[in-house]
């Protein structure tokens, strides 16, 4: 509902604006964010495969997939920071009116959720290496995975609505 409210806010801002993007603001890059979308989708895929592996009792495979998911998640954050830096240097800042506020606000709040999710995945990875998960307590890995998928889905919505539309 929080992201729902944020998208509602974005829709409101955009519908009231005479022009979107407003005149004079730098264009947003598409390449890196597109790569990031792929990165996050792959990360979701990795963690899903990890859950599937655990269901079959393959605990080492789980740890491997968790590691992949974490690495990809970290990659996302790094690339996101690169995008921010580039865009900032091109002249778009949070104080650049509604457009800047929306861009940084949405992506920053999303990134905060990615970071939180990443911490959880790392925690789950450590516990997995310690052998805490079996095919009988899969839910303990499924829940963090579902959060991760959610964060991924929000990103896809954001990528499409912020960068493409």
């Amino acid at each position: 509902m929080m992201f729902g409210a944020l998208f509602f806010m974005y829709a409101g801002m955009r519908s009231h604006a005479l022009m979107w993007p407003p005149p004079g603001v730098p264009h947003l890059p598409i390449a890196l964010p597109a790569v990031n979308t792929a990165v996050l989708l792959a990360s979701s895929g990795a963690i899903a495969l990890g859950v599937k592996a655990l269901r079959k009792g393959e605990r080492r495979a789980l740890s491997a997939w968790l590691g992949v998911a974490a690495a990809l998640g970290a990659t996302f954050l790094v690339l996101q920071v690169v995008v921010w830096r580039d865009v900032w240097a091109a002249g778009l800042q949070p104080s650049t009116g509604a457009y800047g506020s929306v861009f940084y606000g949405l992506t920053a709040l999303h990134a905060a959720h990615v970071a939180a999710g990443l911490l959880v995945i790392l925690l789950v990875l450590v516990r997995s290496l310690l052998g805490k998960y079996t095919e009988h307590n899969v839910m303990k890995v499924r829940l963090p995975a579902m959060f991760w998928h959610f964060v991924d889905a929000v990103w896809v919505l954001m990528f499409v609505s912020l960068y493409l539309l």
């Binding site: 509902m1 929080m2 729902g4 409210a5 944020l6 509602f8 806010m9 409101g12 801002m13 009231h16 005479l18 407003p22 800042q93 949070p94 104080s95 650049t96 009116g97 509604a98 457009y99 800047g100 506020s101 929306v102 940084y104 606000g105 709040l109």
Partner: protein, 594 residues
């Protein structure tokens, strides 16, 4: 699903500080909530002082906190006083008392569970709330004053442009953090009621209290995040230089939209008022039945009415924004839905009135407060009609009529409902009884002075007095209301003093109250019939199997067979099928089947 029995922790820190026991957490919320209730009440007294004796020194408080101005309230201080009064009462007083304390205490016990679904999450929820409380106190310490943009926090006034300084920022953050706490609690309540009801405790055998708290939790989980987003975006505007809500000359054409905040705020804000009243509706529905010794009239109708209000509450928020230049068609839509809420509200109300009619009323203290709640809510609800109607709202918007309306329905009703709950469950919480005579004095003082204070506000508002005015008498067309305001203030001071009776009673009873029996009120719900006063750590040695609803009173056949006028939710009863009350369902096939 049955929960395991865990051993009780021994060390002080795990037993009383970082406890995961819902009963301890409930008391933590209760104490914190009561302290903030006192703080919010004191702020209210300061507002009333200013209107009774404008620009004169406030006794005691003036000397302690307003020494720079000789003890008198100044216009900027005034704006902080009414802002903090509103915010504190809603988020740090009523919410922890009704939802934090009674939600936590009552839900597991009344449904036959040993604890909440997620006891550790429950503990985190309290400590997040505690952190938000610290942020509130910090707001008062800010050099430029505490938050001052009204509890509604509308930008641009609430941005750096209108309210510079840390005071407003602390409150934006405090709102966010308490929202996190509420969401955690809400998830816990929802899951607990779905998964951990005792065998045989079907949905329609649950006490109305649980229904009220459960529907509240659903609204909380859905809509507090929207408030959270509004608070977050405001915090970003204040701290990170964004322009979500900043508009006007400061930003030019690329600015944000202050109206956006109002939408986000009220999408949360309207459900919030139902969040604050649904627990009380549930509690009062049960208490009226218990103390009239009569079944809750059309129990299912009351449940459906509460569900209907819950659903409708999501789609009426625009009535707070009628005067903002909204398209008339949109206003019409909101108006229709707002008026439609009358229907379930009246159903609930008529059910209450019919529950007590031809009952056998025991006017004990919880019942007195419950009847008082019905009275003030009826009055307050009726005043809502003129506000929900667009044309009459043109005149009444932003007047004291609005203030009187929401104080009657939200403050007074929740206030009296909370005390009804407190006097009722005190023996179960603390194993002791409160002084009933002091309780009766507390009741009469409260209900009489509440009626005078908020009735006085209605009259002042109808006569044209606006909200949030440091000195209403600046306006010639309101200047003649000074005596009305002064007398209303006297009633308010009397209301405040009356609460001291409760404070003395509460503390005295905890320390040296008479020991309470297991079921002193002789009612049928599980916490009274199957738990000690107070309950053991794990609530139930053996989780009982439920066979009927919670309101089986007044059956002459039961009186004849058992010598008392009620059946509890577990005992076999009269034996033959068909003699059960009509709110009991047929026996489930297997234990635990829904």
């Amino acid at each position: 699903m049955e929960q395991h029995i865990h051993p009780e922790p021994k060390a002080f820190i795990w037993k009383y500080v970082f406890s995961i026991d819902h009963k301890v957490i409930a008391r933590q919320f209760l104490w914190t909530g009561l302290m903030f209730l006192a703080l919010g009440g004191t702020l209210a007294m300061m507002i009333r002082w200013q209107w009774a004796y404008p620009k004169t020194a406030v006794p005691v408080i003036g000397q302690l906190f307003l020494s720079q101005t000789g003890g008198a309230i100044t216009p900027p201080t005034y704006t902080s006083i009414f802002t903090m009064h509103g915010l504190i009462m809603i988020f740090w007083a009523i919410t922890p008392i009704l939802i934090g304390a009674f939600g936590n205490f009552c839900i597991p016990l009344m449904i036959g569970a040993r604890d909440m679904a997620f006891p550790k999450l429950n503990m985190y929820s309290f400590w997040a709330f505690f952190i938000s409380a610290i942020l509130v106190i910090l707001s008062f310490t800010s050099q430029l004053g505490a938050a001052s943009a009204g509890w509604t926090t509308y930008p641009p006034l609430s941005t750096n442009v209108g309210a510079p300084g840390w005071g407003q920022t602390y409150m934006a953050l405090a709102i966010f953090v308490t929202g996190v706490s509420t969401i955690m609690g809400g998830i816990n309540y929802i899951v607990t009621v779905i998964r951990y009801r005792a065998p045989g405790m079907t949905w329609f055998r649950m006490p109305l209290t649980v229904w009220g708290l459960w529907l509240t939790a659903i609204l909380n989980v859905l809509f507090v995040p929207v408030l959270g987003s509004a608070a977050l975006l405001l915090a970003l505007d204040r701290l990170a230089g964004t322009h979500f809500f900043v508009a006007g000359a400061a930003v030019g054409i690329q600015g944000g939209d202050p109206m956006l905040f109002q939408h986000l705020f009220w999408i949360f804000g309207h459900p919030e008022v139902y969040i604050l009243i649904l627990p009380v509706w549930g509690i009062v529905g049960d208490i009226l039945s218990f103390f009239a010794r009569k079944p809750a009239f059309w129990y299912k109708g009351s449940v459906f009415a509460m569900i209907a209000v819950t659903v409708l509450s999501a789609v009426v928020y625009g009535h707070h924004m009628y005067q903002t230049g909204m398209a008339p068609l949109l206003g019409l839509g909101f108006e229709m839905l707002t008026l439609a809420i009358s229907v379930p509200a009246v159903v609930l109300f008529v059910n209450w009135l019919n529950t007590i009619w031809k009952g056998s009323l025991r006017l004990e203290v919880p019942m007195l407060f419950a009847l008082g709640m019905v009275f003030v809510f009826g009055a307050g609800g009726l005043t809502g009609l003129l506000l929900g109607t667009i044309s009459t709202d043109i005149y009444l918007h932003d007047t004291m009529y609005v203030v009187g309306h929401f104080h009657l329905t939200m403050a007074a009703a929740s206030f009296l409902g909370s005390f009804s709950a407190l006097y009722f469950w005190f023996p179960k919480m603390y194993g002791k009884q409160m002084d009933q005579n002091m309780g009766k004095v507390h009741f009469w003082g409260s209900v009489v002075f509440i009626t005078l204070v908020f009735g006085g506000q209605l009259v002042a508002g109808y006569s044209g007095q606006h909200r949030r005015l440091f000195d209403p008498y600046q306006y010639k067309y309101i200047a003649h209301l000074a005596p009305l305001n002064r007398w209303t203030s006297y009633a308010a001071f009397a209301l405040g003093i009356t609460q001291l009776i409760f404070v003395v009673n509460f503390i005295k009873s905890i320390l040296m109250g008479k020991k309470a029996e297991q079921n002193p009120w002789q009612v049928s719900t599980l916490e009274w019939t199957h738990c000690a006063s107070p309950p053991v750590y794990h609530n139930f040695d053996i989780v009982p199997t439920v066979v009927r609803g919670a309101h089986e009173f007044a059956d002459p056949a039961v009186k004849k067979k058992f010598g008392r006028d009620y059946l509890d939710q577990v005992e076999p009863g009269l034996g033959a099928v068909g003699e059960e009350s009509s709110d009991a369902m047929p026996e489930p096939e297997a234990i635990g089947a829904e």
